[in-house]
């Protein structure tokens, strides 16, 4: 009988790795905590840099999922128990499987923007997150709480990233380019709307990202202001009042916008951290899982037979996540065949 791999998490990484492993002849159980596959990609209206619909990538991943993969949904994994040369993967008391190898593709959770209390998310009516804006794009309706079209929108970069006060000193990598993409989408969706991006640095690390940033400025007249928001409040008309320093001009700014979009960063999910602690795996300050070698064994854990794929080891874009998933599948295959 073929060796059995349990893949935890049916987001982009889990779907891609499961297909790769199944195509190599392994028996694969893909277990997902939610009722459907796709992870965060299913919530993303369009992807950067080419603004391809997120659904298109997800449909492809779902369609290409090897039919031999045993997909189990609605089962949050609560325990991974090493058992000699196998593992028991459990979801509470009602589901369990035994596998020769486990691949954690548990992804990330979005930073809870409420923790940046001074920005007023879930307090001020027209303060939303980047995820909320994607949902608005998907619904084809970007309006303020009162139903009116926003005439001026601000984007705040690095919400919950590179922020010691928020407990996350790392860069979430994709928020900058997401803000640029969303700013352009706003300008196309609502041509008369002014858009301001408040940033610390613009980290356009991927291919064509820099071009997108340039296009946002030159073609769409998106205003980029280098400075971190200190606070937002709401005036009696429901306008969001921002206090920010323009660090290039060296001056404080006070500006009113109709809508404020917070670019929420990536965090290690609480479920992943619980499994990490249960398995006595090493901890890092950023709480993401630590591969045994960041360069040479990026998918291999400290425990033989336990592997990592995707954003559970740190922020990644979708292309890097899929490449990482295929790399993880190879690492698992090498282990099981040795």
């Amino acid at each position: 009988m073929s060796r059995h791999v349990a893949v935890i998490g049916a987001g982009a990484a889990g779907l891609e790795a499961s297909s790769a492993l199944a195509s190599m002849g392994f028996r694969v159980t893909l277990v997902e905590k939610e009722d459907s596959t796709g992870g965060h990609v299913k919530d993303w209206h369009a992807l950067f840099p080419n603004r391809r619909p997120g659904a298109e990538v997800l449909d492809s991943l779902r369609k290409n999922l090897d039919p031999g993969v045993n997909l189990v949904t609605g089962k949050p994994v609560s325990a991974i128990k090493p058992n000699g040369k196998t593992f028991f993967v459990e979801s509470g008391n009602d589901w369990q499987t035994e596998a020769d190898a486990v691949l954690m593709a548990t992804g990330f959770s979005l930073f809870d923007a409420r923790k940046k209390e001074e920005y007023g998310y879930r307090i001020y009516d027209n303060v939303i997150t980047s995820a909320d804006l994607e949902a608005a794009f998907s619904a084809g309706k970007v309006t303020m709480k009162n139903g009116e079209i926003p005439k001026r929108i601000g984007f705040v970069h690095c919400v919950g990233s590179r922020d010691e006060k928020a407990g996350n000193i790392y860069c979430s990598k994709v928020c900058c380019v997401t803000a640029v993409k969303q700013a352009i989408e706003i300008k196309e969706f609502l041509p008369g709307t002014e858009v301001f991006c408040f940033y610390m640095d613009l980290r356009m690390f991927g291919r064509h990202y820099e071009e997108l940033y340039k296009e946002a400025q030159e073609k769409y007249n998106v205003q980029f202001i280098r400075g971190r928001l200190s606070e937002s409040t709401e005036d009696h008309n429901g306008k969001v009042i921002l206090k920010v320093e323009d660090t290039l001009l060296g001056k404080p700014l006070k500006i009113g916008v109709d809508m404020l979009v917070l670019m929420a960063g990536m965090e290690s999910p609480s479920g992943t951290r619980q499994l990490r602690d249960m398995l006595h795996l090493a901890k890092d300050n950023d709480n993401f899982l630590i591969p045994s070698d960041a360069h040479l064994s990026a998918n291999i854990s400290e425990i033989p037979g336990l592997f990592y794929a995707g954003t559970c080891t740190g922020p990644k874009n979708i292309a890097d996540t899929l490449a990482d998933a295929r790399s993880a599948a190879l690492a698992v295959a090498k282990y099981l065949k040795s």
């Binding site: 209390e117 606070e231 409040t233």
Partner: protein, 358 residues
């Protein structure tokens, strides 16, 4: 505005406030600014709530204003605070209640410093002992006096004669709450409700029937800011800070402002007069100002205390519009009479700010 969102924040910032037996440390400046406030605090706690409060005569300034103005060195501040704690210890108390926001912030800061750098506490103990022969225990519970009124807000509401409600319309009064910067901006978890959306005054206002206004410059400094005022050349900045707040709250048409810091009511009250003289601008309706109160004064008003006994006659912006709106019974002729009925004289009316009833 989503009230539920604020409630979630408030849930994260609850603090332990002692139930009884407080060592009360008065403020340096409140007794001259608003002399009835501390008396009203003691009256409510002792006479209405039956609490045990030690109101000692031997404590000094905490050095807070000097400390924040870079005049008093840290070691001196720590030693003075050590002495305050020694007085508490000698009096047999463990719960320290500070009247002043800056003192409360400074005590919090020093206790935190001693926790993280125990050698600094050892040094303070050594200096204190050498200078005075005194020893001390760190308070078991440290609270600002507004925390204590907040803790007993429903008990006060149950005994209250009045509510913060318009007697004519039955609608809640619109109240601006202003929190002293040193209350929770430095240590959010030491303040009720945290730093961004403090609940300590909001809780009182709600319990006593009023409605809180959230306006854009709510978090902004009142204008005292120590260096903004104490350095004479900076006083323009001080009044500019206050003006920014008034301009921001004006569209909400607040009935009153309630504060929990010694300096804030002083500056929010007196600068309204100065602004009216400088610019002819007043922030209330029909040439009136926005009355500014300490939380003890507001507690005293709802308890039905005589407004002149709790010192409302020393306000630059007259309190009468709020008293009348609530329906408080008072004798206007006693406003400028002393406790024995002696005539204290009447202030000259400002040029623009309406001071006397027409």
């Amino acid at each position: 505005m989503k009230y539920e969102g604020k409630k979630l924040v408030w849930r994260d910032y609850q603090k332990e406030i002692a139930e009884d037996h407080y060592f009360y440390a008065r403020s340096c400046i409140r007794q001259t600014f608003f002399p009835g406030s501390e008396m009203t605090f003691l009256r409510i706690l002792k006479d209405e709530l039956g609490k045990d409060v030690c109101d000692g005569a031997h404590h000094t300034s905490c050095t807070g204003i000097g400390y924040h103005s870079d005049i008093v060195p840290l070691e001196t501040t720590m030693t003075v605070i050590a002495r305050q704690f020694a007085l508490m210890t000698e009096a047999g108390y463990e719960n320290y209640a500070a009247s002043c926001i800056t003192s409360f912030g400074l005590y919090t800061e020093i206790i935190d410093m001693w926790h993280h750098f125990p050698e600094t506490e050892d040094r303070a103990r050594e200096y204190l002992f050498k200078a005075t022969g005194r020893e001390f225990k760190v308070p078991k519970n440290l609270a600002h006096a507004s925390d204590i009124i907040y803790k007993f807000r429903y008990e006060i509401a149950a005994k209250a004669k009045y509510r913060l409600v318009d007697k004519e319309t039955g609608k809640p009064l619109k109240v601006v709450e202003h929190i002293g910067c040193h209350y929770s901006k430095m240590f959010p978890h030491k303040g009720v409700g945290g730093a961004e959306y403090p609940y300590v005054l909001t809780g009182m206002i709600e319990a006593w029937g009023g409605e809180v206004i959230d306006y854009p410059e709510r978090r902004h400094c009142c204008g005292f800011g120590f260096r903004q005022y104490i350095v004479q050349a900076n006083r323009g900045f001080s009044i500019a800070c206050s003006k920014k707040k008034f301009d921001s709250m004006e569209p909400y048409e607040p009935d009153m402002i309630i504060t929990n810091c010694p300096g804030c009511p002083m500056f929010l009250d007196r600068w309204q007069y100065a602004l009216s003289e400088m610019e002819g601008k007043t922030y209330g309706k029909n040439g009136k100002g926005i009355p500014v109160f300490t939380y003890e004064e507001v507690a005293g008003i709802v308890m039905g205390y005589d407004p002149w006994e709790i010192g409302l006659q020393v306000h630059q912006v007259p309190a009468e519009p709020v008293l009348d709106k609530i329906g408080v019974e008072y004798d206007p002729d006693k406003k400028f009479k002393g406790p024995n009925g002696e005539d204290l004289g009447r202030p000259v009316a400002p040029s623009y700010l309406k001071f006397y009833k027409e």
